[in-house]
Amino acid sequence: MVLVLALGDLHIPHRAPDLPAKFKSMLVPGKIQHIICTGNLCIKEIHDYLKSLCPDLHITRGEYDEDARYPETKTVTIGQFKLGLCHGHQVVPWGDLDSLAMLQRQLDVDILVTGHTHQFKAYKHEGGVVINPGSATGAYSSITYDVNPSFVLMDIDGLRVVVYVYELIDGEVKVDKIDFKKTATMHG
């Protein structure tokens, strides 16, 4: 049972002052084993905050991140799964599932986590699963102002992943889950 927090596109302080209080109260140090962040934090304070939740932090660079040293893409192996991380502004058309699938095959990962569109998505194709955790602050995106704050928590247990989707809708936190297993066909 390994908990992996996936979030991104916070755009603090430019587009949002902070994470929603209801999210912050749930994110306590010590519960989560890994954090993967799609990017656009944008400032060091947020980096430090995430680091305080969990020391194993992986971030890729969003176009507004002040720290230019984050990589464009990253791969992490957690348990039986290979995860890929990329902000997504580099993949055009933005949010296009086929283009993202190509990136996934290039990175050769089971699960690709990307952001930029600020819209939650979970999509499966032959190359694997693409997850977009959305924007954790509900910041407006290049495409739309209508954004619900959201993030994702993955529970990796052997060959199975349970993806918990946390969304703030009308001031209330709604949690759903998605269940999937790694099958032999998922990889190359």
Binding site: Y123, H125, L153, D155, Y164, D176, D179
Partner: protein, 370 residues
């Protein structure tokens, strides 16, 4: 005779005759239609001959797993063994949110994973607080975490049980399947007994039971060693539970009380030694006898000797506690010369790694302390 560890060298004729006669007596006792448990207890207290291949059956009778009437054996065994299978289904098929609703959705999404190549993944609704970050006290999630930790502990302890024995440790599929069985039993026990759960050391008490049952020359019984060990383990532990309950540690029935009883027994039969140990050299029984008692002497002697000691321990109709104390007392008396000549350090060292002993003699001395 080579199979009898009590007499490693070719036995003197008198010894050999004694061995054969004990074997025939125990076989005779077991062949009765209704077994006389008192007779069996008396014979077992003297040690079950290894050559007879009946230890598995004897222990099952002594622990009340098998009824004394032979006719009822088949039916009893079938009942218990299928009950164990039910336990396995219930407690070992465990996943997060293992209620029928989510199991259904898992099966559903499994079907999806097979057939739907591309597509957005279905989101399923979950109950109010059933996610890892819930602040509320989700019984199910907390229990899941607790169980995971318990299972990890069991796994670690099982892997460390008797690492020198091929039966328990190593790369063979036999060892691995035995380890699986031990784990299953301990996990099911912990889940059924929320009050006591799993405590380190239970693996050591289970090990001889499982070994003896798995070693049964009748393969029909050996195949069910796991189920049989489970029930016998429960029975054995029921008398020992108080030792494992932390809250009772300082009460009269807990481990401290038992240690005091041991010292009282020693004072009765060897006051000089008791005084020298407890007062002069300040070797508190907690430092050495804690392990002797809570683990039923499984750590103090080699495995074969432990099994012989258990023949005697299990033969006590009131439970092993009294006999155990007498054996511990005998252990002290047998090394009295060295203890009386020693100080705190040397005595502690001696008692924490008790020297190999003639078990027959030890049990003989213990028997006299009544």
């Amino acid at each position: 005779m080579a199979s009898s560890p009590r007499s490693p060298q070719p036995a003197a004729p008198a010894q050999a005759e004694l061995e054969i006669s004990r074997q025939s007596r125990i076989l005779a006792a077991l062949s009765k239609k209704v077994i006389d448990l008192d007779e069996l207890r008396m014979l077992s207290a003297q040690g079950v001959p290894d050559g007879a291949g009946v230890r598995s059956t004897v222990w099952k009778l002594l622990l009340g797993y098998l009824p004394s009437d032979r006719e009822l054996w088949e039916q009893e065994l079938a009942k218990k063994r299928s009950q164990y299978e039910a336990f396995k289904d219930e407690f070992l098929g465990n996943t997060v949110g293992g209620n029928s609703a989510t199991r259904g959705s898992e099966a559903h999404s499994d079907g999806n994973a097979e057939h739907v190549e591309n597509g957005f993944l279905d989101r399923s609704v979950i109950a109010q607080d059933e996610h890892p970050l819930s602040i509320g006290k989700t019984k199910e999630w907390d229990q899941f975490v607790e169980n995971s930790e318990m299972i990890e502990q069991v796994d670690r302890d099982v892997k460390r049980t008797h690492p020198d024995m091929h039966f328990f440790c190593g790369d063979s599929s036999f060892a691995k399947s035995n380890q699986e069985s031990l784990k299953n039993i301990l996990i099911i026990f912990a889940k059924l007994n929320a009050g006591i759960r799993y405590v380190q050391g239970m693996n050591e008490i289970l090990a001889p039971l499982f070994f003896v049952f798995r070693d049964d020359p009748d393969y029909k019984n050996a195949n069910f060693a796991e189920a049989d060990s489970f029930f016998c383990f429960v029975e054995l532990l029921s008398g020992l539970r108080d030792n494992f309950c932390q809250k009772l540690d300082n009460s009269a029935v807990g481990i401290q009380g038992t240690l005091s009883k041991l010292m009282q027994l020693l004072r009765k039969y060897d006051g000089e030694l008791q005084h020298h140990l407890e007062i002069t050299t300040e070797v508190n029984p907690q430092f050495y006898a804690f392990r002797w008692i809570t683990l039923l002497l499984t750590q103090e002697f080699n495995f074969a000797d432990t099994i012989h000691i258990w023949d005697t321990l299990l033969s006590d109709p009131d439970g092993p506690q009294e006999t155990l104390l007498r054996i511990c007392c005998a252990m002290l008396i047998l090394v009295r010369k060295r203890l009386l000549a020693g100080d705190f350090t040397s005595n502690l060292k001696l008692l924490q790694s008790y020297p190999p002993t003639n078990i027959g003699h030890l049990l003989y001395v213990a028997n006299k302390l009544q």
